[in-house]
């Protein structure tokens, strides 16, 4: 009985929390976008402390990228600041537009970046000299910075398999 009561409280609290999160997500100005410069990649990888994560390049001008954001929304419970970084290459768009798209897809709580005022080609080169700029583009970082690049939309299958695989990797020692 007591257990049942507790679980009810939990459910209610969960709903209140979900509603609260919903409110947070709806407020696009709360979506924090960090400026991605030519030296930011090192900041991102070092902040991840060698743990596996996905780095996703996207643009509002790329319809498959928007579809992919919907996929991330559906995977939301399994995604966090720890295991995914999103970088919008829309450096010349108003930040509010990017914030709104991210808020609409309930992705405002994730680690979000936007290309800075530096030359776009320099930023692309800093990320990967072999990248032609096609979108969406994903880098799967395994432990210790080894990464695999993927061009084109991620599928549910790829994402599920990566999350399972990355969970199975031995954890790096935190410094």
């Amino acid at each position: 009985m007591k257990l049942h009561y507790l679980s009810k409280i939990k459910t209610v609290m969960g709903l209140v929390f979900a509603a609260y999160c919903g409110m947070l997500h709806a407020a696009s100005e709360d979506v924090q976008l960090k400026m991605f410069g030519s030296d930011s990649l090192v900041d991102i990888t070092s902040a991840k402390s060698g743990q596996p994560f996905m780095m996703v390049l996207w643009s509002i001008d790329c319809p498959p990228c928007i579809k992919e954001l919907s996929l991330f929304r559906d995977f939301q419970p399994q995604l966090s600041k720890k295991n995914i970084v999103l970088i919008s290459i829309d450096g010349s768009e108003p930040v509010s537009v990017i914030q709104q798209v991210l808020a609409d897809h309930q992705l405002g709580e994730l680690d979000q970046w936007i290309f800075s005022g530096e030359m776009v080609e320099r930023l692309r080169y800093a990320i990967d000299p072999e990248w032609y700029g096609e979108l969406p583009r994903t880098y799967f970082y395994e432990r210790e910075g080894n990464r695999v690049a993927h061009s084109g939309m991620l599928t549910e299958k790829i994402l599920t398999e990566w999350l399972q695989y990355s969970e199975s990797l031995p954890k790096a020692v935190s410094k």
Partner: protein, 416 residues
Amino acid sequence: MKYVLLALMMFFAQLSMAAITHGNHGASRASLLPSCQELNSLPSPHCGLVPTTVWGKGANDDVDVLYTVFSQNGHIYFTTSVDKGQTFEPPTVVNRTPEAIYDDGENRPKIIVGEKGKVFVSWTHKTAGRYSGDVRFARSLDGGKSFDTPITVNSNRALISHRFDSMSIDSEGRLYLIWIDKRDLLVAKKQNQKYRGAALYYVVSEDSGASFSENRKLVDNSCECCRIAVDQDYQGNIVALWRHVFPGNIRDHAIAYISPDETPANSALLKATNDDWMIEGCPHHGPDLSIDSQNTAHMAWFTQGEKHKGLMYGQYDLETQSTRYEFVIDASAAASRPQVQVMGNTVYLMWKLFDGKAMTLNIQRSLDGGKTWKGRESIARTLNGSDHPDWVTSQSKLYAVWHTQSEGLRLFEIVQ
């Protein structure tokens, strides 16, 4: 507890390592020239965005004039230079009422200088919603001193894409506007039917832009967001080259004549490049086209196909309807925006290449009509943002034109 602390530390470390922005632009493509930072500075091709230039005759037909249109603060401006772009006249505004304008490299204002002081200008107005736009046109009958009120050319006014306008004039003086249009996609969606890509629509004017034909469909299934290349063939007829969506989502290029007369849609399409590039998405990287006196279309384009990767050059023989000499200009990931120009038997290629430090502008030439190519040379570089490069020709003269954030609009003499 340890993890909470760690998480907090990581959070603050992230806060401190990057500026967090709210409500402003992530970056600006605005000019970095000191002269453009003054509040009272006049609009200019250096300070504005995506200037497009052509040579023409001055009012008295005695001097070569560089005619330029560019986008700045919601206006398209027109100006001229008699000293190859060293100085420009105070600009004339083409659209007196400001409007949102697509002014990236693939979407730029177009200009044609006709006879007897006629100047034709087109651009794409950004309408509400993502990827939406209307094709706009305005003309001057007094050499650009004043422009008629702009008109919207696309008859379909849904808040969808009517964008990537291109403009050309044939040997009879007929004016053509062609653009990418999603009206058929909209209809298909409403009927729950599939539709590949967008369509190409065009209009023709027989009276120097005073009036236009009804909107005509050239083809279905063009790619959605790459510019359309247009040029006159050897008899002065209009040819278009564009990225198409062939069955299987193959985004290679198609070429077609645009007839001044009404012709059934999809009747003129020919496959011009063969890269087998299957991609879900649009590369925002349209082709370039230059047709010689033998009616050979010289083409430059970008692909990531199965057969070829990188910047490409190739020829399409409009007489035999066959492709030849497809070869890679530059396969590196840092190469972009290839342009081609034929002058007599010489073919010129130009493209951008980021060398790890700076963006460079590169030239290569072929003296035998595109069969063999000499070594490349780098003619300019810049450390900040740059527009697509372009050619400007005046009879036997050829210049490369490049607008960059740090240096403004520059002309480089290629053939004197």
